[in-house]
């Protein structure tokens, strides 16, 4: 993939990110923060890629901790968001 392609994707994602939440009620600020917090757990993809190809001990240690951290981010993030939103559901 060329750098230009990556930058194109990046710029489009910036605009999309702004557009997506431009009209969000205050009520949802915390769940939305928590939900997007879980989404940047996508960094686990990167952690997995380096953990699967690490050859030196140092890299293995760094990669292992990265996988642990990123997994906590993903799993904890989505579960905690779900717990918050569960509260809203009951009232409808």
């Amino acid at each position: 993939m060329s750098l230009l392609t990556s930058v194109t994707i990046f710029v489009l994602a910036v605009f999309l990110g702004f557009e997506l939440i431009s009209r969000v009620p205050t009520l949802l600020h915390t769940p939305l923060m928590s939900g997007t917090n879980a989404i940047h757990g996508i960094v686990l993809v990167g952690a997995m890629l380096i953990a699967g190809s690490a050859d030196s001990t140092l890299e293995q240690v760094l990669a292992f901790v990265a996988v642990v951290f990123a997994t906590i981010n993903v799993v904890g993030g989505f579960l905690v968001t779900d717990r918050m939103l569960e509260m809203f559901k009951r009232r409808e």
């Binding site: 997506l20 923060m33 997007t36 690490a54 990265a66």
Partner: protein
């Protein structure tokens, strides 16, 4: 792997496209109350798809590290997310955010190590992205830990200030850019370590001067940082899922940070650099609160006021959350309603520790949704209200925000409880709120103070209302 190389990469890229679409759809649904919960599920499905198909990647030739790390992370993440109390939610989010940033920094460190033994292997743009991930990821990691410590009250929530702080932080940041530049140019590991260590220190110093009341804004900002750090690792590893997922969070998180600041009438620069609430500020100039005394009231008298009122507005704040009093308050409200009192709840946009936090806590206690009123809707009601019952809320009721241009709270939209006929404040002590600002409401002739733990006080009120 099992599939031929070209095929497997195509399959992975198609899966990433599907995953990206689901993440986008998920964020979209998260921003509307009706669809929010399903939005979280949709985003989670997108995440699982991205993760599962990453396993097919040809670069991965060993699975044991991934399996072990994912197992540990899943146990820790699931356990903490299940166990955390709703009141401690904001600091939990800070921790999850911090480890995400930490992961991005570790990926950068590992990639730097892997690529630098062969000089010339690092193409320039990947090096820039490696350094950026290391810098921003580390700042997000240590900054989030400080935010956690402040909210968890492991350290003082007040701004920690010392002389020449901003100049020092500025100099350190320039130093970090220099470390990064040298690390990139020389490809010497020592400079990378200096960059990582310096960025960790900067993250701590950058959050220290920020007061507890502004912490949600900072967590949201650090959330955006982690998003950008993740996106940057996508440039390092040439991975579209990382670029899209990370950037979406970086952009939406930035906007969310601005929206949160706006809800408190503060600009981001003001939040970052004003050390809000560092100095306790007295009431209006010329009418200092020092000489005034607050009037104390017993639970019985307060209960009589409530029981014979026509309209009561409950103003919940963080004190209610800390005391886990949300269920008890609902009980009191129901008791009053059975006596024909009209009870409403006034929710300030930043009541609790984060915007929307109070709605979550009251919903947990089954308070009926139609009884919750936003600030704009409830403020016109206060002049017609007999008793405003303030439970553990402080800064969001401080009239200084309207009247005293000297006050750090000045300009923040508040709940105008001082317009009610009577104000009953349930509070542990006279100590100032999270912003560290004295509240002149407590010295108002209409105001009575009922001291004690919010839950214990509300329980006393319930008993007294039953007897009244």
């Amino acid at each position: 792997m099992i599939l031929p190389l070209a095929l497997s990469q195509n399959v992975i890229n198609v899966a990433y496209l599907v995953a990206a679409a689901l993440l986008i759809l998920g964020i979209k649904r998260l921003s509307s109350p009706r669809t929010a919960r399903s939005g979280n599920v949709v985003a989670a499905v997108g995440m699982v798809i991205a993760l599962v198909f990453t396993l097919l990647d040809d670069d991965i030739d060993s699975y044991w590290l991934i399996a072990a790390g994912a197992a540990v992370g899943t146990i820790v993440g699931a356990f903490s997310a299940r166990r955390v109390r709703m009141t401690a939610m904001p600091q939990m989010v800070a921790l999850f955010n911090g480890v995400g940033g930490g992961a991005a920094a570790l990926i950068a460190a590992a990639e730097f190590h892997r690529r630098t033994p062969e000089p010339g292997h690092v193409v320039e743009d990947a090096m820039g992205a490696i350094l950026f991930s290391a810098l921003i990821g580390s700042i997000s990691f240590s900054g989030s830990l400080v935010a956690f410590a402040k909210l968890q009250e492991l350290m003082p929530g007040r701004p920690v200030v010392f002389p020449a702080q901003q100049v020092g932080n500025g100099a350190l940041f320039l130093g970090l850019l220099a470390f990064g530049g040298v690390a990139g140019a020389t490809e010497v590991g020592g400079w990378m370590i200096a960059l990582l260590a310096g960025a960790l220190l900067f993250g701590i110093l950058f959050v220290l001067p920020i007061g507890g009341a502004d912490m949600p804004v900072i967590i949201s900002l650090l959330n955006a940082f982690t998003g950008l750090a993740a996106a940057s690792t996508g440039f390092v590893l040439d991975n579209t899922a990382l670029i899209i997922g990370g950037t979406l969070v970086g952009a939406s998180g930035t906007l969310l940070t601005i929206l949160m600041g706006r809800a408190m009438n503060r600009s981001l620069a003001n939040v970052l650099f004003s050390a809000f609430g560092a100095e306790p500020v007295a009431g209006p100039a010329g009418a200092a609160t020092d000489g005034q005394t607050a009037r104390e009231i017993g639970a019985e008298d307060a209960a009589v006021m409530l029981a014979y009122a026509k309209r009561v507005v409950v103003v919940p704040g963080y004190g209610l959350a800390v005391a886990q009093a949300q269920h008890t308050v609902r009980e009191l409200a129901e008791l009053l309603e059975r006596r024909g009192v009209d009870v409403k709840y006034a929710i300030h946009p930043v009541a609790g520790r984060m915007p929307g936090h109070m709605n979550v806590l009251l919903a947990e206690a089954n308070v009926p949704y139609p009884q919750l009123y936003d600030m704009e809707d409830i403020n016109p009601e206060f002049p017609r209200t007999d008793v405003a019952l303030v439970i553990g809320a402080n800064d969001v009721t401080n009239p200084a925000a309207r009247t005293n241009p000297e006050s750090p709270l000045y300009g923040m939209p508040i709940l105008n409880v001082d317009e009610a006929a009577n104000v009953v404040v349930l509070k542990r002590s006279m100590s100032p709120g999270f912003a560290g600002v004295d509240n002149e409401l407590y010295y108002n002739a209409k105001t009575s103070m009922l001291f004690g733990d919010a839950r214990a006080s509300v329980e006393k009120l319930i008993a007294a209302v039953k007897a009244a």
